[in-house]
């Protein structure tokens, strides 16, 4: 299965998805009860963050491929619709894979 397929494919039944990091090529698994931020931190990445609840905008990250599932209150509805940014502290993915500019 190719990368482009996974960024179009629907989420797994258990709510998990994978995050691919554009710069390192690393792929990380995000389970239903984890945040993308937590997975990135556990993998040793230094992610700017503050409120951890989608209010402050500190963890804003560019989305390269895949479709985010926005849970934040920072982006405007128009920005959320556009789908090229995500707040990794609280938002998730609508597709089986998200590729982040990280």
């Amino acid at each position: 299965m190719s990368t482009s397929d996974l960024t179009q494919a629907p989420l797994a039944d258990d709510g998990s998805f994978e995050v691919q990091l554009q710069k390192s090529g690393q792929t990380l698994q995000v389970s239903k009860d984890q945040s993308i931020l937590k997975v990135l931190q556990d993998a040793g990445h230094d992610v700017p963050f503050s409120c951890s609840e989608g209010v402050c905008g500190t963890c804003l990250t560019r989305v390269v491929a895949g479709k985010p599932d926005h849970w934040d209150m920072y982006l405007t509805p128009e920005e959320q619709e556009k789908g090229d940014c995500i707040m990794v502290c609280c938002s998730r993915s609508q597709t089986a894979r998200l590729v982040l500019d990280f």
Binding site: G54, G57, T76
Partner: protein, 350 residues
């Protein structure tokens, strides 16, 4: 525990106006509030707690009807929602509590309880405010004592003989029994003294009203408690034998002592006191003179109540006596307790 679903006097409008662009921080019924004038000039009250880092918003400034936090410049609106903050998007900021407010009779009234239940129709009404036939002067004391001690004080005026010996006190008060009656949520305590010499404060008032201050008088005190903690006291003297309280205006010097007692904490309250009078209402100098005299008299109460509270705090388990002279306070507290139970039906009592 306090009756919270009701209107309390928070401050005089003049007090808020005097602060200019500064907001007014005030704790009422254990709720820390900040009062300020919104964009339309109307007074608003919100929690004194910046949603950013918990700083007291009362340390900030009011700018174009927004309350600007003095710590990092968060701009709070009248409804408790953040309007703006430099360098931030505020859409997701959690709202803080806002309190219903009414401006009436020269005061800001606040409803510290459930905002959904706030009802302007429940505001008490007073004939002597905003009425050219009456004059009003008053002040504010912060008293470090349970607000119910002030109710006890005002619903038993026998203390005047001792606490206010040089102004309104006189032995005839002790010697004349009082009657207490309860009418619904109101407690009325009254005492009528006949053929006595007026005490100094009333001699002054008699002179001001063109009466001979040395003449024998009939004197009355009619204290009216209504919940949560407002006490209006008809006080005055009339030339002896002219009908006392019911005497024609030219024979008496008469006024209403106005007491708005607003709990701050369990052991402190805001005491808005004043006097409304019908004689010489246009005489501003007389209003000032009465205010000054009343302020001195009520300062004597404050001293007594604060040290009484200190004693009670030190000996919380000591039982106090309820004598016949305390019936007015006892009945008033009974009404407060009943309303508290109504407001907290789950059986939680303090």
């Amino acid at each position: 525990m306090f009756i919270k679903n009701t209107w309390y006097v928070a401050c005089a409008l003049t007090e808020l106006n005097a602060l200019g662009s500064q907001p007014l921080g005030r704790t009422i019924c254990n709720e820390r509030m900040v009062f300020f004038k919104g964009p339309d000039g109307q007074v608003a009250a919100v929690e004194d707690f910046c949603p950013h880092r918990g700083a007291p918003l009362s340390l900030g400034k009011v700018c174009e009807g927004k309350l600007v936090c003095g710590y990092h410049g968060l701009e709070m609106g009248c409804d408790g929602k953040t309007v703006h903050m430099p360098g931030q998007r505020v859409r997701g900021f959690p709202a803080i509590k806002s309190f219903p407010v009414v401006e009436r009779y020269g005061f800001v009234w606040v409803w510290p309880g459930d905002a959904a239940k706030a009802d302007v129709a429940q505001m008490p009404s007073f004939a002597f405010f905003d009425n050219p036939e009456w004059a009003y002067g008053g002040g504010l004391y912060h008293v470090k004592a349970d607000y119910r001690l002030m109710i006890d004080n005002l619903m038993d005026l026998t203390h005047e003989t001792y606490v206010h010996a040089n102004s309104i006190g006189q032995p005839e008060i002790d010697e004349t029994p009082s009657q207490t009656s309860v009418e619904g949520d109101q407690v009325v305590l009254q005492r009528h003294m006949q053929g006595i010499q007026a005490p100094p404060f009333w001699q002054m008032a008699m002179s001001a009203n063109g009466l001979d201050p040395q003449a024998k008088v009939d004197r009355w005190q009619i204290c009216r408690f209504s919940p949560p903690s407002h006490i209006m006291i008809d006080v005055g003297v009339a030339l002896a034998g002219k009908g006392g309280f019911d005497a024609a205006p030219e024979h008496k010097a008469y006024s209403v002592v106005v007491d708005f007692i607003t709990p701050e904490t369990e052991t402190s309250h805001w005491y808005h006191w004043g006097m409304a009078r019908q004689f010489k209402p246009a005489d501003a100098a007389l209003t000032d003179k009465i205010r000054e005299g009343q302020g001195k008299i009520f300062n004597e109460d404050m001293e007594m109540l604060q040290l009484q509270q200190a004693n009670i705090t030190q000996w919380p388990d000591r039982k106090l006596l309820m004598l016949n002279i305390d019936a007015g306070g006892v009945q008033s507290r009974r009404i407060i307790d009943r309303l508290l139970a109504q407001e907290n039906p789950t059986g939680i009592t303090a």
